[in-house]
Amino acid sequence: MTTASVPPAKAEIRNLSFSFGRTEVLKSVSMPIADRRVTALIGPSGCGKTTFLRCLNRMQDLHPDVRYTGEIILHPEQINIIDPAIDPIEVRMRVGMVFQKPNPFPKSIFENVVYGLRIRGIRDRATLDERAVQALQEAALWEEVKDRLREPATSLSGGQQQRLCIARALATKPEMILFDEPTSALDPVATAKIEELMTSLKNEVTIVIVTHNMQQAARVSDYTAFMFLGTLVEFDRTDTIFTNPSSSLTEEYVTGRFG
């Protein structure tokens, strides 16, 4: 396994192993996550990339009987976010997530965007309005929905719903956003919009994306990690992974010979 070093890291994963019950799904994964860059996780189905992603905001704690060992150090405070003493809710307040299938709440567009603020106790109308507009602008959705904020979110198209979910995650100003195959349920046009959006967001926020689509990883990411059977095979700059990988397994995967 090779691990390239990255300029300032937002997080560092050290020897992370993770199990559901007795099944070990991640085996001693170590890699950095670069601050305000896009890091892609690629690998065949079942390689543990989604499991890994969901460790980064402790979503795995929603399942019974899970076990973490190792460390996930979040900068700048250098806290280990999988330490049992750290409340998963605190981690989720700092690390946002966008899911595979758009999952807006069956509420109005506005209520979707501000929900994260509401659970943080923000009630002031002006603040909510201002943050909602800002988040929708950042998610490149504002122009399409500015006249219909009171309409149900489910009236939007699939691609718009996914951008709404991104706006919902952005509204709380997270330090890192996790994307779990965010475009796998979308058509090519909607996919292109989301990819463009990620590129524009990376100046503000650290992004980690799981994708099945290698072209997507090559297009949007700065760093790529290739995982296989619960282990990290290779982590490097994206152009290196795709043009000059050091592992033959990585090469076979990125050239489409398996997976």
């Binding site: 929603l62 989720r92 946002g96 999952n103």
Partner: protein, 303 residues
């Protein structure tokens, strides 16, 4: 060759038609019985139905007897039942579905709740007599009756609420948790609001069954001939609300029916049919409301 195939198909189709005919007969049988029931009730009870019938007290003279105490009693008992069984049932269901760990204990509780829904109502009546009347000294009162029927409704409300809660997709819960919401925030802001339709439907169906219950109320001592009303819940002096009615004796519509049916005079049987018509209309209206709520939420909430 093709002749054989045609013979085969003709035979298959004959059996198909046979089953369709048998099914039609079975369905017609059920519908006809229901129609017959409604007709007799309508024809017999309809003759007695009038404003006086609804607003008079029971009487020894059948033509002057009415169902006012029964109506008021039914409404008040149902209020107590709804006010107790809904919060308890919904809270229990939310706990089981969202908070409780999934292990053998919760599985056992789940099975027992399903069993409770099948326990004969008279058994609830016996238990309520022991608990509410003898142990807690609540008397043969509206409160006792309401709580008894609440026990009866509770398993149904729990089961219906769990079903409704389960229709909220995992992805919605995950969206909420991923933003940093606690379980309670997720339940309060998402799970309950999105399943309100299903919960209300279950509650209404449970209540519409409880409204016709007679056996457990006889057990806890409902009166069958009553010539007065419970204390009014609204008073002229402050604080304008009174809870005295909770401990008043009462009767309910099915009790009134039961009383009239058990009399020899034909005219009282007509009164019973009249009361039955009122009870049935209320039940049908409640079921209609449940249907409407389900229809509306299905249109309003899409994932």
């Amino acid at each position: 060759m093709s002749h054989d195939i045609r013979m085969q198909i003709a035979g298959n189709k004959r059996r198909d038609r046979c089953f369709a005919a048998a099914g039609l007969v079975a369905m017609a049988f059920a519908v006809l019985i229901l129609l017959f029931l409604l007709m007799t009730l309508g024809v017999e009870g309809g003759r007695r139905l009038s404003w006086e019938f609804l607003t008079s007290y029971p009487s020894r003279v059948p033509s002057r007897a009415g169902i006012l105490p029964g109506c008021i009693g039914t409404v008040l008992v149902m209020l107590v039942t709804a006010w107790t069984s809904v919060p308890l049932g919904v809270a229990a269901a939310v706990y089981l579905e969202e908070y409780a760990p999934k292990n053998w204990l919760t599985a056992a509780i789940e099975i027992n709740i399903a069993n409770l829904a099948g326990v004969p109502s008279i058994v609830y009546g016996l238990m309520a007599l022991g608990l509410f009347v003898y142990q807690l000294h609540l008397g043969h009162s509206i409160l006792t009756a309401g709580l008894t029927l609440a026990l009866l409704c509770l398993p149904v409300v729990i089961i219906a609420t769990r079903e409704a809660i389960r229709t909220v997709p995992l992805s919605i819960r995950e969206a909420s948790y991923a933003l940093g919401a606690t379980k309670w925030q997720t339940v309060r802001d998402h799970v309950l609001p999105y399943s309100t339709g299903g919960i209300l439907t279950g509650v209404i169906i449970a209540l519409s069954r409880a409204i016709g219950e007679t056996a457990p109320l006889i057990t806890v001592g409902a009166l069958s001939f009553i010539a007065f009303l419970p204390t009014s819940p609204v008073t002229a002096e402050p604080p304008f609300l009174s809870l005295r009615w909770l401990l008043d004796p009462f009767t309910v519509l099915p009790m009134q029916m039961f009383n009239w049916v058990s009399r020899p005079q034909e005219a009282f049987h007509l009164n019973a049919a009249g009361a039955g018509l009122v009870l049935m209309s209320v039940t049908l209206a409640m079921n209609g409301l449940a249907f409407y709520i389900r229809y509306r939420t299905r249109r309003r909430i899409q994932w």
